[in-house]
């Protein structure tokens, strides 16, 4: 086995498995998108609760913080008796990891709106509701998007771990490669995960800049 040293990258393997790579790309993207989207929806609800009843912030960050600290493998295992070994299991776990990041940024974004801006808005005659939608939300948007960006990039990384559930997106190649000592598979899985994370990261940076032209350096 050592005698016939296989090349680090077997291009022919990549070519032959292009269909599988595309399928796994789709799986990686959809697991990420569904989890972050679900995380966003739940976070919106929980942030609304926090903004209305400020005292709920500590317990909510405590619980979501606790979820965040559970190792992903352990969480998948814990969910197996409840939902089984499937995509639902993966999405629940991945979603739960996004909550702390997204909620914290949403609350920080809203809290970060400068007091004089709020006072001026009141003084100009904004109603409480109009002030929230036209002042607080747009001004908090860069911080909220930054939260989504971190949550998304984190999720892209965590999706690879769902390979143990028979999913994994690019993680599937990494796990298979490790089991068979086949370097090409490992490299394909690792490289594509990093590329995907980078593309999504840049997409969010672009989105943030597009939605808050005022926050770019003045010139």
């Amino acid at each position: 086995m050592m005698a016939q040293a296989s090349p680090l990258i077997d291009w022919q393997w990549i070519w032959r498995n292009m269909g599988e790579i595309l399928d796994r790309t789709w799986q990686h993207l959809s697991l990420t998108a569904v989890s972050v989207a679900l995380g966003l929806v739940i976070s919106l609800g929980l942030t609304a609760v926090v903004l209305r009843w400020r005292r709920t912030y500590t317990p909510i960050t405590w619980v979501t913080g606790l979820l965040y600290t559970i190792p992903s493998l352990a969480l998948f295992a814990l969910l197996v008796p409840i939902v089984g070994l499937n995509a639902t299991n993966a999405v629940i776990a991945l979603t739960s990891y996004t909550l702390l990041i997204i909620i914290r940024n949403m609350v920080a974004g809203i809290n970060g709106v400068p007091e004089p801006v709020l006072e001026a808005a009141d003084g100009m005659g904004y109603t409480r509701r109009a002030r929230f939608w036209r002042m607080e939300i747009p001004l908090a948007l860069p911080v909220i998007i930054a939260g989504l960006r971190i949550a998304t990039v984190t999720t892209v990384g965590l999706v690879t771990v769902t390979a143990v559930l028979g999913l994994g997106g690019y993680g599937y190649f990494i796990l298979r490669g490790l089991n068979t000592f086949f370097w090409t598979q490992i490299l394909v899985g690792v490289t594509l995960s990093v590329v995907l994370a980078t593309i999504l990261d840049l997409a969010f940076i672009w989105l943030q800049s597009a939605l808050s032209p005022w926050a770019r350096s003045p010139k």
């Binding site: 400068p114 007091e115 004089p116 801006v117 709020l118 006072e119 001026a120 808005a121 009141d122 003084g123 100009m124 005659g125 904004y126 109603t127 109009a130 002042m135 747009p138 001004l139 808050s212 032209p213 005022w214 926050a215 003045p218 010139k219």
Partner: protein
């Protein structure tokens, strides 16, 4: 206090008090205060005197614990706060421009809330930019691109946008550097003279209060009104030791800065004759005035002065007068007259209005005003 004097009253505070939750004593205590229409009233006092609290109760940013506030005869609680505030201009120290909106959009805030059409808003923005001295090029920028002074100009323009009759200003020039502050003060003073708004202006700077206010209300800690009158009157007759102390040193000079030369009692004709006068008469005038110089006029215009020893028997017209280095208009302040006196050779300030000689002030004439 009949209902008829409400027609001249813009704001009336009746026994207004504010006790903040958990505070042991009131921030404002049973305050009565009237502000006339078109009047510029400054609220001034040390920190903790409740001046800002008082201001913010007028537009209900802070709700009073007790008492009543009337604007133009109507109780401020009669309409929802957001409606009340759209009819009151509001300027705060930190400006509070909306960072995500362009300067034009910031200025258009209240007109937009009131549903003006786009054409009218655009016209109004351009008008206001010119009014507050804002380069139209700035209008499409975001607030972050502006200096502190420019931001406060925008803050004032935004407050004036819907042409409210009443303007509330909370230390509006407090955050800019002293040079810009002075310029903004003078510009705003000129602007106010043109617009005739009713202004309530909070400051901790007693000189600013003296400079800008038609009347100034001096508040003590706990929202106690110590004195409420015209600055010149307060400077001449401080009601008590607190007010005297708060006004600080150089009260006489501060008062002189407020009084125009034209209204001074001590202004007199002095040793001045027409060039057509007989030299003998010139000598007689110098003797009466016991001066060694004489001022020469031609058809009411001040030519200058000549030394007494130069006056001989020949016509005065043949003498070469030396010009007075400093002359003052009758709207100049007595303080500048005092400066002219102490720096001039002849120890007098000559008053000239539209080219015509009006009279002169000497040290004695000016100090009459101080001690009055």
């Amino acid at each position: 206090m009949g209902p008829q004097d409400l027609t001249d009253t813009m704001i009336r505070l009746e026994k207004v008090a504010k006790v903040f939750p958990g505070a042991s004593r009131p921030a404002v205590d049973d305050l009565d205060l009237d502000v006339g229409k078109g009047e510029f009233v400054t609220l001034v006092g040390p920190s903790g005197c409740g001046k800002t609290t008082t201001l913010k109760m007028i537009n209900r940013i802070i709700e009073p614990s007790s008492g009543r506030i009337l604007i133009d005869g109507a109780d401020v609680v009669a309409v929802p706060p957001h409606e009340l505030r759209r009819s009151i201009g509001y300027v705060i120290q930190q400006v509070g421009l909306f960072p995500h909106r362009t300067i034009a959009q910031n200025i258009a805030t209240v007109p937009a809330l009131m549903g003006w059409d786009a054409g009218r808003i655009k016209e109004r923005i351009e008008q206001l930019a010119a009014l507050v001295g804002l380069d139209p090029e700035m209008l499409d920028r975001y607030p972050a691109a502006l200096s502190g002074g420019q931001q406060q100009r925008v803050g004032v323009a935004r407050a004036l946008a819907a042409d409210p009759p009443l303007l509330l200003m909370d230390e509006p020039f407090g955050a800019v550097d002293p040079i810009v502050r002075k310029r903004l003060q003078h510009e705003f003073q000129a602007l106010q003279q043109r617009l005739g708004k009713t202004v309530v202006f909070v400051t901790h700077d007693v000189d600013e209060a003296i400079l800008l206010g038609d009347r100034m209300a001096i508040l003590n800690v706990g929202g106690v009104l110590e004195q409420f009158d015209e600055p010149a009157t307060i400077l001449a007759n401080p009601a008590n030791a607190f007010v005297e102390d708060f006004l600080g040193g150089e009260r006489g000079l501060k008062r002189l800065a407020l009084l125009p030369v034209g209204e001074a009692q001590g202004i007199r004709w002095g040793p001045v004759v027409d060039v057509s006068a007989n030299p003998e008469e010139a000598k007689r005038v110098m003797e009466e005035e016991s001066t060694d110089w004489i001022g020469l006029l031609e058809e009411g215009r001040l030519l200058g002065w000549v030394d007494g020893s130069a006056v001989g028997t020949g016509p005065l017209r043949d003498l070469v007068p030396r010009p007075f280095l400093v002359t003052l208009g009758s709207d100049a302040s007595l303080r500048s007259a005092l400066d002219a006196v102490v720096t001039s050779h002849a120890r007098v300030a000559m008053v000239v209005d539209q080219g015509l000689y009006r009279g002169m002030l000497d040290l004695e004439g000016i100090s009459e005003e101080i001690t009055e």
